[in-house]
């Protein structure tokens, strides 16, 4: 998945004969992280298949007379698994049953639509990881950002274009503020960010619930439901490929956010300070970095990125007005996305698209095959678990350990977050 997991072997060029080099190459491919990722996904899908098969009614029926007609059960198992996974694929990437290409490709755009908020929130959580902080406050930051962006989008009338930008800025500001409180408290009083983010999730939830039922705040006029009015068309993300696809321009903001985070972390002065504090706050302090300010900036930026997920929800995906469930659990999913992406911007981007595909396909699978969408959650969790533990996957498939001469300590560095999160 990332260079951190695969220690680059330093082979001297021309020192080895052809066959040895070939063995090394083979070892790199089979032992390296790309192979691990593929195997992890495969392994997780196998476990998912076992679960689907075991809980399938037809399989349970046929297992009753397994010894008289074993083929029935084999048939039932393969039907159940193949049905579920083909529905998953057709719901997330390409629908073979469609008449034309433009309809057949629709699931892929659905995947990207679902991926959009996951990537944004994943970037926020991942950025906090890189600074050695654990941001579980995605829910609160998304809700506040959604509330702020949503209010601007439905209550204030502005010309098209400017309206959208103002709404986005309001949302980013809301998310940054909600995240910034955490950074401020951590920097000034030493309050543990895990507690504060968890608590602020609840505070934000109840605040939004209150505003949603207060006329003149977020509640739609003349309605008794805790729901906002529809967003004004001037503030809604335009569709990227026309009205037949749900994919909206919010995806572009997420690409921009990914580039921004990449630039911030690997090219900017502030990002260098972020990473230094993440590696070792004491060393960073000795080196003259203002660690307290770094905590504040990092949490504010993290909150703004998570807020972008909320903005995308209200201005792109659910534009007809939203309730308190607008975060849809994305704030927590983002943690897994950030972990799978190893807290690196483009890794998170890829992980977000993978999880978006699972989400899009999961709904299709539930509708078509009656397999609960929760199986997708299981598979996602297993993928992250297997990818985080390359030695386990290697042991299962009897793969050689890459660079077997290296000290085992390198294994400890499989997740970049390891030292960073813990170094508090």
């Amino acid at each position: 998945m990332s260079d951190a997991a695969a220690p680059a072997p330093a082979y001297g060029p021309g020192k080895k004969d052809g066959s040895e080099r070939w063995t090394q190459t083979l070892r790199d491919i089979t032992g390296g992280s790309a192979m691990i990722s593929v195997l992890a996904v495969a392994l997780a899908l196998v476990v998912g298949a076992v679960l689907i098969a075991f809980t399938n009614e037809r399989v349970q029926e046929t297992s009753g007379y397994f010894f008289s007609r074993p083929l029935d059960m084999v048939q039932a198992v393969s039907d159940a698994v193949a049905g579920a996974y083909s529905a998953l694929f057709q719901g997330s990437i390409y629908n073979f049953r469609a008449n034309n290409f433009l309809t057949a490709i629709r699931p892929l755009t659905e995947t990207l639509t679902f991926a959009t908020p996951l990537i944004a929130a994943g970037l926020g959580v991942g950025l906090a990881f890189r600074v050695g902080m654990f941001n579980i406050g995605g829910r609160g930051q998304m809700l506040i950002a959604a509330g702020a962006a949503g209010y601007v989008a439905f209550a204030i009338e502005l010309p098209a274009g400017i309206h959208l930008i103002v709404a986005i800025l309001a949302g980013l500001l809301g998310g940054a503020m909600w995240g910034g409180i955490v950074g401020l408290l951590k920097a000034r009083t030493g309050a543990h960010e895990v507690i504060v983010t968890i608590m602020l999730n609840f505070v934000a939830l109840y605040l939004i619930q209150f505003l949603l039922r207060t006329p003149g705040a977020l509640q739609a006029p003349g309605s008794n439901n805790p729901k906002t009015p529809a967003m004004l068309p001037t503030a809604v993300f335009p569709d990227l490929f026309g009205p037949r696809y749900n994919l909206h321009a919010g995806f572009l903001t997420v690409i921009a956010a990914t580039i921004f985070v990449w630039w911030l972390l690997s090219r900017s002065n502030l990002g260098f300070q972020f990473r230094a504090v993440g590696q070792n706050p004491n060393a960073a302090r000795v080196a003259g970095i203002n660690v307290k300010n770094v905590y504040m900036y990092a949490m504010a930026i993290s909150g703004a990125l998570v807020g972008l997920a909320g903005i995308n929800q209200v201005l792109g995906t659910v534009t007809t007005g939203f309730g308190a469930g607008i975060d849809a659990g994305i704030g927590f999913d983002a943690i897994t996305v950030a972990l799978l992406g190893r807290s690196k911007p483009w890794g998170i981007f890829a992980a977000g698209i993978l999880f978006g595909a699972f989400k899009a396909g999961g709904f299709a699978m539930q509708a078509a095959e009656g397999v609960p969408i929760d199986i997708v959650v299981v598979v996602q969790a297993l993928i992250v678990l297997f990818i985080a533990a390359p030695p386990l996957v290697r042991a299962m498939f009897h793969l050689p350990t890459p660079g077997a001469t290296k000290k085992p300590k390198i294994r400890a560095d499989t997740g970049r977050t390891t030292n960073e999160v813990v170094a508090k």
């Binding site: 009083t189 109840y206 996602q380």
Partner: protein
């Protein structure tokens, strides 16, 4: 925020050597006190309710108690004014103490908190009655899963393994206890199943953390997701279609003779289900085990300084594995509260983030079993307070009442606890 002063250094050469002491003057507590004092002035005096002479009644006994205590009726507005004045006075005292480089005694903090609570209850209950035993009974009941989860977390983290998977352990315990208790018709077997399930989750945590050296926060988060997904999937596929797998018997409340008749304390502590009684034992045992036994010393040693523990012959990873598993047993037992102690059926994601609140209690309680228990009780009290005030009709919008416990926690963490220190080797795998 804080200043460091040193006592004057010994000047003459003949003078005895005096240790230079550094006193840290922290203004956190006075600032917090001041904030609450201003808040109480604003709420109880400016926005004071009951200015037409309403009474706030506190009912201290339940109808079936043998010893009946009289109801206490306080004049709402006068109580509010009195409390506000005393709180301002206490805040001034704390400023004076800190100014003079003296410590603020813990008694003062407790007194301040209790007074504010009384003032707030009186203010909220203007013209109606607060059932004090009911408020406190609910507190203990609601805290039970939090306390079990926090104890499991303390045990695991004291051994140096970060336990973010408390939610997973609770949920696994809730699920398996419901299924086993329904299938066998015996709720005690359900409790056993809950312990086994919690232990299994924490064994996965320990295996990945200790053998495969995966980052412990990652494993914890992923385990939460995994168990949520797994239990929800099995619920939809297996439990929902056949109801007889999800209808366990609920434990009845057991009255302990004599003890349950003590006024106020009796109903609160001794009219509970067996799960709560086990909880009392668990708190004492975890405290005793960690701080009074050889085993506990070893657990704390591998959590603070594994190298040192290793050099004296302690098997670091085995000690950690045992502690984490034991933590899972305790947390899993707490999960049974949701199904066998309260609801009587498993539901998707029924732990509803309680595991995270238990984690907050661990950190709030500074990784100490008793303090973590008190923190969990505080969360339980806040949750139940909002329930009770919701019934008698609270003057503030219910959302703000619901918000209160979390805001108080943020204040408390920022003001009183400050930098709580984790065990030194928490989250760090030990590699020889």
């Amino acid at each position: 925020m804080s200043t460091i002063t040193q006592s004057p250094a010994p000047t003459p050469a003949s003078a005895p050597i005096v240790k230079a002491t550094a006193q840290i003057r922290s203004w956190k507590i006075p600032i917090t006190f001041g904030g609450f004092a201003v808040l109480s002035l604003f709420l109880f005096v400016l926005l004071g309710r009951g200015q037409r002479g309403e009474l706030s009644t506190f009912r201290l006994s339940q109808a079936r108690d043998v010893i009946q205590l009289p109801e206490v009726a306080l004049p709402t507005f006068a109580t509010g004014v009195f409390v506000a004045i005393v709180l301002v006075f206490l805040a001034a005292v704390s400023v004076w103490l800190v100014y003079g480089h003296r410590k603020i005694p813990i008694v003062l903090t407790i007194l301040f908190a209790l007074l504010f609570l009384v003032g707030f209850l009186a203010w909220a209950a203007s013209g109606s009655t607060i059932p004090v035993p009911g408020l406190l009974i609910g507190t203990v009941t609601l805290s039970a899963p939090l306390i079990f989860g926090a104890l499991g977390g303390v045990l695991s983290e004291r051994a140096g393994v970060v336990n973010v998977a408390i939610e997973a352990q609770l949920l696994a315990g809730a699920f398996s206890s419901a299924v086993v208790a329904s299938a066998t018709g015996n709720p005690y077997l359900g409790l056993l199943a809950a312990m086994v399930a919690g232990a299994l989750v924490s064994m996965v945590l320990a295996a990945f953390a200790l053998k495969y050296l995966v980052d412990q926060v990652i494993v914890g988060v992923v385990l939460n997701v995994l168990v949520i997904g797994l239990t929800s999937f099995l619920y939809s596929q297996v439990l929902a279609p056949s109801a007889n797998l999800n209808s366990p018997d609920v434990f009845p409340r057991l009255n302990i003779p004599l003890l349950s008749e003590i006024p106020i304390i009796g109903p609160v502590l001794f009219r509970q289900t067996i799960i709560v009684y086990v909880m009392y034992v668990a708190v004492v045992m975890v405290y005793f085990g960690l701080f009074r036994t050889k085993w506990g010393l070893r657990v704390r040693a591998v959590g603070e300084h594994p190298q040192a523990a290793d050099t004296v012959g302690i098997n670091v990873n085995r000690t950690r594995f045992v502690a984490v598993t034991l933590g899972g047993v305790i947390s899993g037992f707490g999960g049974a509260y949701f199904t066998l102690g309260a609801v009587g059926a498993f539901n998707k994601e029924m732990t509803n983030g309680m595991g995270f609140i238990a984690l907050a209690a661990v950190i709030f309680g500074q990784w100490h079993p008793i303090k973590a228990t008190l923190a969990a009780l505080l969360f339980g009290f806040a949750t139940n307070l909002q329930n009770v005030l919701g019934i008698i009709g609270s003057p503030v919008p219910s959302e703000f009442m619901l918000m209160l416990p979390y805001v108080v926690t943020i204040f408390a963490v920022a003001g009183f606890v400050g930098r709580s220190r984790a065990p030194a080797a928490d989250g760090k795998p030990y590699i020889k």
